[in-house]
């Protein structure tokens, strides 16, 4: 909880600290899984950029800047290494992008040795959420069991919503019973905060939300990408090698806001809202819809330092609006 004060102490009376199902965050900002790797590339870009500028007074410690986040959410980690899909894996679309990366990752053991070692050394105070993925219900718990040995991990985000896998991913998140089964096996494997990330590609997202809440989810992330397609007319072919992918960016912000709004009314666990957030106003809109925290995803690609600045911008927004505690915004839509 003292983390809440270190960056902005004295500068403002606004309380930005939030609690997401047992995960204490000094501000509501995290990043969307898969857009930020494990933070190292962004931290090093920040460090190099500040070092290259002519302003000598700035602190160039990458850890300090990563710790501007309320929490870091890693890319999805599976038990075995996954090679992901063929390229092209992305396509730009109006106000958005499609991706079909396919959760390429080096597996939990290498993740622990490389990424977690780096994070423990360089950002030890940063709350860390590890995104966990699997092809089947049974593949999640072994990942968590391995990560339980790592003290730097603070929480898990369970990915039952990736649209880019032939087996697992979203298939686990569209059926309330299966989603609950994954949640139960993860809940049994850890006492750490458990966040379940939901797909919008369902008839009624609140049905899934209620089911995973009942199965032990301490918080929900929403939304994962919206299933979509882009076509090259001249070639008469899809723009993605996989054919279809997941849509992200400002194009899906209204979809995401509605999902957060509806789930806020349907469940009592806290929500992490994401989908097209680019600035403080976007983030505040998600909180008003019912999110306790927010994640920046696709915007990281255009502006790689936006997530590291967002909490400061949200604080300024609160100051300008006379908001003393950001928690008062959560679900604060007026009738």
């Amino acid at each position: 909880m003292t983390k809440a004060l270190d960056k902005n102490s004295g500068a403002s009376a606004v309380n930005l600290a939030v609690n997401v199902g047992g995960l204490s965050m000094k501000n509501p900002v995290t990043v969307a899984s898969g857009t930020f790797a494990s933070g190292r590339e962004y931290a090093e870009l920040w460090q190099a950029s500040v070092g290259a500028s002519s302003e000598p007074s700035k602190n160039v410690n990458p850890a300090t800047e990563l710790e501007a986040l309320g929490a870091l959410t890693t890319k999805g980690v599976s038990f075995e290494p996954w090679t992901g899909n063929a390229t092209p894996r992305i396509a730009e679309t109006p106000s958005g992008m499609l991706n079909a990366i396919g959760l390429q990752n080096k597996g939990v053991e290498a993740f622990c040795q490389d990424d977690l070692t780096w994070l423990a050394k360089n950002a030890p105070e940063l709350p860390l959420v590890v995104n966990v993925c699997g092809h089947t219900v049974d593949e999640f718990a072994p990942v968590i069991e391995r990560l339980e040995q790592e003290t730097v991990v603070d929480a898990y985000e369970i990915n039952i919503s990736c649209p880019n896998l032939d087996c697992g991913g979203m298939a686990l998140g569209v059926d309330p019973e299966v989603a609950a089964a994954v949640t139960r096996t993860c809940r049994a494997a850890t006492k750490r905060p458990l966040i379940v990330k939901l797909t919008p590609n369902v008839t009624d997202i609140t049905e899934i939300a209620k089911s995973v809440e009942a199965a032990g989810a301490g918080a929900l992330s929403l939304i994962n990408t919206v299933a979509g397609m882009a076509i090259d007319a001249k070639l008469r072919k899809p723009l993605l090698a996989r054919g279809s992918g997941g849509l992200s960016g400002p194009a899906i912000k209204p979809v995401a806001l509605l999902a957060v709004h509806r789930c806020y009314q349907a469940v009592s666990v806290p929500l992490i809202g994401m989908g097209g957030i680019r600035n403080a106003t976007d983030a505040i809109e998600f909180m008003l819809a019912g999110a306790t925290a927010v994640a920046v995803g696709t915007a990281n690609f255009a502006d790689p330092l936006v997530a590291l600045r967002l909490a400061d911008e949200m604080q300024l927004w609160c100051e300008s609006q006379g908001v003393e505690d950001i928690n008062e915004l959560i679900g604060g839509l007026l009738a």
Binding site: T35, L45, A48, T87, R89, M97, T298, P304
Partner: protein, 279 residues
């Protein structure tokens, strides 16, 4: 992985991490008579000083907010004393179309210099460069560097037609016209045929000890095959759709003998032998 030594002067394979650098448009212009190929000069001192041949910058196009992604552009000429970089690009899609409206004095930002550039067998003495279309862009700074090192360099320069041979003058000024064999797909200038055919002829006549190529994917695959047959080490510069440009998102991966590698920071230059060429 990095066989060459680390000093900058040695043309070693380097993976410099990029910097987010604000920059300013200093000059714009057309390179061909139809305006389909454009040049853009930016004040970007950090990139200008630190760029190595074969690296690129990841550029955010201003006033283009409904198109989210940055665009990667190979570095053409860098002037470290003046702090300027020059990009040459073909107008192909919405992004490059939007870039034609850039004005002198306009501000934008880049991440750069990014990527692992050419290493090109540092011990090589006689180097063949094979450039198809816009593939000439990253090969120009390599040619400059090889010349400065006193090496023999020939550049097969190919384009669809004579009008699109926009790099011919610069390469000829640098290396002399006798070292720039030209070819065009339609025969409107130089050899009538593909760069790979022209390169195959040259390989029969002279002995090269290194090859570097950039151009259409199929052409690079063809060059890689020629090089393998001739037993000459070859480097290629690959292009994949890219999002972050800093190695985080895994969009731009290339299939290699050592698994998937990221074109943005593990490339864009790869050893031809490590690439698993697909159709």
């Amino acid at each position: 992985m990095c066989e060459a030594v680390g000093a900058r002067e040695s043309l070693s394979c380097q993976a410099a991490s990029g910097v987010l650098e604000p920059c300013e448009v200093l000059d714009i212009g057309s390179c061909d008579k139809n305006g389909g190929i454009r040049r853009l000069v930016l004040r970007a001192p950090h990139a200008a000083i630190h760029a190595l041949p074969g690296q690129f910058v990841h550029l955010r196009i201003p006033h283009f907010d409904d198109h989210l992604l940055r665009r990667p552009f190979g570095l053409y000429r860098c002037n470290s004393a003046a702090g300027t970089i020059e990009l040459v690009y073909q107008v192909l899609g919405a992004g490059t179309q939007q870039m034609t409206s850039l004005k002198v004095g306009q501000k934008l930002d880049i991440i750069g210099p990014v990527g692992r550039g050419w290493s090109c067998a540092p011990e090589a003495k006689n180097v063949l460069l094979i450039a198809g279309g816009m593939g000439a862009v990253p090969l120009y700074p390599l040619a400059e560097q090889l010349k400065a090192q006193g090496k023999q360099v020939q550049v097969v320069l190919g384009a669809q037609n004579a009008d699109l041979l926009v790099f011919q003058k610069d390469f000829e000024t640098l290396l002399g016209a006798e070292n720039i064999p030209i070819c065009t797909d339609d025969g409107s200038a130089g050899f009538h045929g593909f760069t790979t055919e022209r390169a195959a002829e040259l390989l029969k006549k002279s002995s090269f000890d290194a090859i570097a190529t950039c151009g259409p994917h199929l052409m690079q695959r063809g060059v890689a095959l020629l090089a393998r047959k001739a037993g000459i080490p070859c480097e290629v510069s690959l292009e994949e759709r890219m999002a972050c440009g800093i190695g985080a998102c895994l969009s731009c991966v290339v299939e290699t003998t050592a698994g998937k590698k990221r074109a943005c920071v593990d490339g864009p230059v790869f050893k031809a032998d490590e690439v698993i060429w697909n159709d």
